[in-house]
């Protein structure tokens, strides 16, 4: 039986490895060359920024950052955590890193330290100190039970006991005034995992107090996050790496001496890859439409 031939037959027979090569080039070239495009401004990122701007730097309240992401979230969640941490550090608002996800452990320490090293290079006269400006509370097991324990505790020092380095809560100047959930002025939750934000929203509150929530999610969990943003259960949002890149624009305007971070570059790289995916979808459909049209227009060949 002879095989019927189509005008754009090669599209159907395109080797998977060629697609992979194009993806590697689309992602890699912007990252290697440093090519970047100005990100889209997002109202959700602006809302996140405004929440941090609203905070007072009198050090009587703490910002709690739950970084529930691991190596799989490095591309999107890491830039989000970095820009949020940078904003807090620049405004001298004390914050604590915590996580309910074991794989996040190395990043709870490395992200703030790397951001501090970068901004100390930009502003050599300024210093940020562990225990005074920030603290790492480490990975805490038992998900929602731990969250519930934090919310209900009358003395967080007793529940937390020590930080990730074994330092007692009483020895950390930053934690001196932090005793209950009421001392948390803002809660930042960053994750790419489905359901983690739900747990924090459900359990990190008491009958009469709930800190404002802001959230960072990966691109695939944006629809879930919008649920909570639309109902004002979260009051600021990073929509994937695009949200972090948009936040960088806001940081650049607020701190004119700031050197660009990685979010804009990552966003450009992912955007080029997304353009490629659009192109591939269109090409795939063109191939399939050509086959359909050819079948319609050409009379069927007799069986040999």
């Amino acid at each position: 039986m002879s095989q019927r031939r189509y005008a754009l037959d090669f599209l159907d027979r395109l080797d998977q490895r060629i697609i992979y090569l194009f993806v590697a080039l689309a992602v890699g070239i912007p990252l290697i060359s440093g090519y970047s495009l100005p990100p889209t401004r997002m109202s959700t990122a602006q809302a996140f920024f405004d929440q941090i701007e609203k905070l007072s730097s009198t050090k009587d309240k703490l910002v709690l950052i739950s970084a529930d992401w691991g190596p799989g979230g490095v591309a999107e969640n890491r830039p989000q955590t970095e820009v949020a941490v940078e904003h807090l550090l620049r405004r001298r608002i004390p914050f604590a890193m915590i996580s309910t996800y074991a794989l996040a452990t190395p990043f709870l320490e490395s992200v703030p330290r790397e951001v501090i090293a970068r901004i100390e290079l930009e502003e050599p006269q300024q210093k940020w100190t562990y225990g005074v400006d920030w603290v790492n509370l480490g990975y805490r097991p038992n998900g929602f039970l731990m969250i519930q324990g934090l919310a209900k505790s009358q003395d967080l020092h007793k529940v937390l006991e020590v930080d990730a380095n074994g330092l007692q809560m009483g020895d950390i100047p930053l934690m001196a005034k932090v005793r209950t959930i009421r001392d948390v002025g803002l809660f930042i939750q960053i994750t790419g995992l489905v359901g983690v934000l739900n747990s924090w929203i459900q359990y990190f509150q008491t009958q009469d107090y709930r800190p404002p929530f802001v959230h960072g999610c990966t691109s695939i969990t944006i629809p879930e996050a919008y649920n909570f943003f639309a109902s004002s259960q979260i009051v600021g949002l990073f929509e994937g790496v695009a949200g972090a890149a948009s936040y960088e624009l806001l940081l650049n305007s607020a701190f004119p001496n700031r050197k660009p971070g990685e979010a804009v570059r990552n966003n450009t790289s992912i955007a080029v890859a997304q353009m490629l995916i659009i192109a591939l979808i269109i090409l795939g459909n063109v191939g399939s439409m050509t086959r359909w049209l050819t079948d319609r227009l050409r009379p069927s060949e007799p069986l040999s």
Binding site: P39, A75, N142, L145, Y226, T268, A271, I281
Partner: protein, 360 residues
């Protein structure tokens, strides 16, 4: 224990556990008050710790399971035994290095933690001593402890050696020695004052000063041990495992998704129906509205249209799905709470019975 009794016991514990967490969540509990004769707020923290302990036991069970499944495969050289060997080797090496790292960290923490405890001890002397003679006895005990720490540090000079080479500012080792000497001087002066003073009231500022100085010494000691621990082999090995293997391998696994998505988009995303066409159009608008090229080269309105789609189309649909899933989850939870769901133990019992009958 008979299987029937075991099943009943598990059902009872499950029910009581479920009941507790249901009540603690729904009943408004004022602090330190009894609700239905039960001190919820007092015991809740202990309950959380108890659940954590059970969770930790699960890690042990997981380990036994891995060794049973993969150990058997290695011993009998079954199919893919090399993969199992790699898993067990990775597990053992990581566990060994992490435990050594933990022990090293604990030792370094202990080196400076004692100053924090002594600082609390000084505050307690000022608050709780009923007479100057009791305070004097306690201060002498503190003096003895400090001398003991001094002797120990002299024996372990290597603790201070690396830190002395710090290039900037006061070397931490020198700062630590200076701070410790200041504490000794302050303590001697306080002891003298306690012996002559009629009561402790006038000496409170000196106690506070000594307590603060002990915290300063603790902070200096922490800097010394932190610098020293940087050269520790176990710490470096632990870092290599985490930063050299774990993080890049984890990120690579996730990055592979991009390639599969691109391949799948090309091969599978076909517009064959009106619904598929609508979905593709919405996806295109959402992607283009999010990336820089959309607003820059196609239309400035794209981000706005994207937001409208997310707010008015995606969110209501997603919310409906979430509500449905939540109701199903609630029904499932009630069934599990009341042990109406099939117990995982039943599978074991059935398979044991099957194995027995097969042997017979």
């Amino acid at each position: 224990m008979t299987p029937n009794l075991k099943k009943k016991l598990i059902a009872l514990v499950t029910f009581l556990g479920g009941l507790y967490f249901f009540l603690v969540y729904v009943i408004p509990i004022p602090d330190e008050q009894l609700v239905l004769g039960f001190p919820f707020s007092t015991v809740h923290e202990q309950m959380i710790f108890a659940v954590q302990v059970v969770g930790i036991m699960a890690i042990g069970l997981g380990l036994i399971n891995i060794f049973q499944v993969h150990g058997g495969r290695i011993l009998y050289l079954r199919k893919d035994w090399l993969n199992s060997a790699a898993l067990i080797a990775g597990l053992c090496i990581t566990m060994f290095v992490q435990v050594q790292d933990l022990i090293t960290t604990e030792r370094t923490v202990q080196a400076w933690k004692q100053f924090s405890l002594l600082s609390q001890f000084v505050s307690a002397i000022a608050e709780e001593s009923q007479s100057t003679s009791i305070a004097e006895t306690r201060l002498l005990a503190l003096d003895e402890k400090l001398q003991g720490i001094g002797r120990k540090l002299n024996q372990e000079r290597h603790l201070l050696s690396v830190a002395s080479h710090e290039a900037f500012g006061t070397p931490p080792a020198a700062a630590f020695k200076g701070d410790l000497e200041r504490v000794e001087v302050q303590l001697a002066s306080l002891l003298e004052a306690v012996r002559t003073a009629p009561d402790l009231q006038n000496l409170k500022p000196q106690f506070v000063e000594l307590s603060t100085q002990l915290r300063v010494v603790g902070s200096s000691a922490q800097k010394v041990v932190t610098i020293n621990s940087k050269g520790n082999t176990w710490k470096n090995l632990s870092r290599v495992i985490q930063e050299g293997f774990f993080v890049p391998l984890g990120a690579s696994m996730f990055a592979l998704l991009a390639f599969y998505i691109a391949g799948a988009a090309y091969r599978a995303f076909r517009v064959r129906t009106l619904e598929a066409g609508l979905m593709m159009l919405a996806a295109l608008i959402v992607i283009l509205g999010q990336i820089p090229q959309g607003a820059a080269y196609i239309s400035e309105d794209l981000p706005g249209i994207r937001k409208w789609l997310l707010d008015n189309i995606s969110t209501p649909a997603f919310r409906a799905i979430s509500f449905g899933a939540a109701i199903a989850g609630l029904a499932m939870a009630v069934r599990m709470w009341l042990s109406l769901e099939r117990s995982p133990l039943e599978v074991d019992e059935k398979s044991t019975r099957d194995m027995r009958s097969a042997k017979e």
